[in-house]
Symmetry: C2
């Protein structure tokens, strides 16, 4: 169902987006600030200070949807704030290349800042945002999209930066090469850039996107807030909220204290690993990341694997923690969420399963993995 | 004066282009092979197997000249031969972006492979090539153009590779940033890419280009060949040929044996230095390069400086040697050529004088530098 997104929805939305960001996707607070500013300006201009969030079922063949996003290392984004005009400039550059105006924008990923970038464009341009995305979570690379898995070309991709530079990259049907070229440019532009890519019509959105992930983020964010307000254990509330969605299953993997985080920014990514020590045993949970959390092991046995969602939450508040802000001493719950079936097909796993990240492990759905006997506080 | 370039002109042209390449610009043999192939194909198709080389004075306001070129590390080019379709693909991508077809192409530099790339495009497309360029020699970076110095934007720049990928980069009036973005992409595309940039009308070519440098390359190449055929000392013949051109002055700086070359390929460039030991004294000439030879010193005193042309020739044959092929044991003449006055103005020196290469020395015209007393064999 389509709905109007209001300023007051933003805190829940970005909390839910941080959860679905699985540790990556960039700090959604930055995106929230920009969207709030754009919405207030719409209000000042006498326009309704809301954004139309369009249910994908309402799209038609006449729709021309151009997703917009940020790309780059979350570490850099924090240091180098956007002016706010970049994503709309990228959209305009792609429209000029294609000779056609977008009827709507859409997230390429529903986690982190990229759930908010299309909202910013929508507020600035008066466009609706489609309630869907191409990752159903966050991933670090631009070919890791259900759009790509199911035959949409990311090219041509348009890029813009805060100095007014633009670039249009066209690698034809080779979405990996598009990512490779765009990443090189993004690194040259200071590690962060804003993009428009994967232009498609309404039926193609319906066939390839993960539906209703903006409203899911809103709902999961509200769930975490309400749990805190009612002093309810947050992961129990999350499991309940997930049950009747495409994601179905949520599960606590581990609880403990962060005892070590190694992290470096290289080739436009934030890479590293964190170790969490159990409160009441010697058990150790290790989580590796490339922007997003990719694998969780407990005592060297895999307990969850990309593309299933691995999230790290503050133990008491359930607030999601990013790979960027994870610090020694954090008391955390490691919480996994089953990814939608559209993201577990063989072709989907070939694009963003463990092997796509250089990992040797075969993907096993998180709900089917036998877990070590570790006492968890929940 | 305009003229028809024939297949039989190519050996002289590329020899002259290698000289004007001042050690860089890429191996013109590769370009020559591609142009020869394209000319033969024109002949097979019943077209005249020649290319019209257009005198810049004959251009009008209705002309739309789009220069074409290779960019990247000469070291890489040797390993990774072009298919031959890339430069025309770059031109087509820029024409599509600008919504206008080129009436002619032109070199951005008259040294090395980039004297031949526009000939290739011209033969394939049936376009004339303007007898002029934007460097009057070779330089390693795309903003180092008289076009840029005198107010032409390199952006938008189009790029193509041998796999059919394209990119269009637009950094507005910031030609340095255009170079930075394009270089990042070229590195991602394997270290070499093909470009179209600095689109301009006829009067702008007349105002900003170094005129008649293709015919100069042809003439200097013929001079070296004839000197060899008549057993004449090659640098004497070169000095004579240069006297009534914009370059006016040629001068032997040193003769000796190459005793050391350090060379590495980094960030898309071939960088390093060579040492030449005099035959009959302890004197040492040191030549540093970034693709092109930048500075020559004799016993640590500067004897020639960019943008004046520093060339290294085989002692006996006068055949130019590139920074890429220079080897221990080569017996060489280090020969300098004064650069045209259009390239010695304060604004030109700001763009491609010594400081632009991170060098501390002030530019002094080579003909005004007092040289150490070194015996030279010539």
């Amino acid at each position: 169902m389509s709905f109007q997104l209001e300023l007051s929805d933003l805190p829940d939305l970005v909390r839910g987006a941080a959860l679905l960001g699985t540790g990556g996707g960039g700090d959604p607070t930055i995106g929230r600030t920009l969207v709030a500013h754009a919405l207030r300006r719409r209000g000042d201009d006498g326009e309704p200070a809301t954004i139309t969030v369009l249910d994908p079922d309402e799209l038609t063949e006449d729709d021309f949807v151009i997703p917009t996003a940020m790309m780059g290392a979350p570490s850099v984004l924090v240091e180098r704030l956007p002016s706010g005009d970049e994503p709309a400039a990228a959209l305009a550059a792609l429209e000029a290349r294609l000779g056609r105006r977008a009827t709507a924008t859409m997230p390429i990923e529903c986690g982190g800042i990229n759930s908010t970038i299309p909202l910013l464009v929508a507020a600035q341009r008066g466009l609706p945002v489609v309630d869907a995305d191409g990752m159903g979570r966050a991933f670090p690379e631009l070919q890791m999209e259900t759009f790509a898995v199911y035959g949409v070309n990311g090219s041509p991709l348009a890029m813009a930066d805060e100095r007014g530079s633009t670039a249009v990259v066209d690698a034809g049907a080779d979405n990996r090469r598009m990512e490779w070229m765009a990443r090189g440019l993004a690194v040259r532009l200071g590690g962060v850039a804003y993009i428009a890519e994967y232009a498609m019509d309404g039926p193609t959105v319906q066939r390839t996107a993960i539906p209703r992930t903006l409203s899911l983020a809103l709902r999961l964010g509200a769930t975490l807030r309400e749990a805190r307000e009612t002093h309810r254990e947050p992961t129990a509330a999350l499991r309940e909220a997930l049950a009747d969605t495409l994601y179905r299953h949520g599960e606590v993997l581990f609880t403990g204290k962060v005892v070590d985080v190694e992290r470096h920014t290289t080739e436009g990514f934030t890479r590293g690993a964190a170790r969490v020590q159990a409160f009441d045993s010697d058990a150790v949970c290790r989580i590796t990341f490339q922007n997003e959390f990719l694998v969780a092991t407990v005592d060297d046995r895999v307990v969850a694997l990309v593309p299933d969602l691995i999230t790290v939450l503050h133990l008491e508040t359930g607030e999601p923690i990013t790979s960027e802000t994870l610090r020694y001493g954090h008391r955390v719950t490691v919480f996994a969420i089953a990814t939608p079936e559209l993201m577990r097909t063989p072709e989907a796993l070939a694009t963003f399963g463990p092997a796509a990240f250089g990992l040797d492990e075969e993907f096993v759905p998180v709900e089917q993995i036998e877990k070590p006997q570790v006492t968890v506080l929940s």
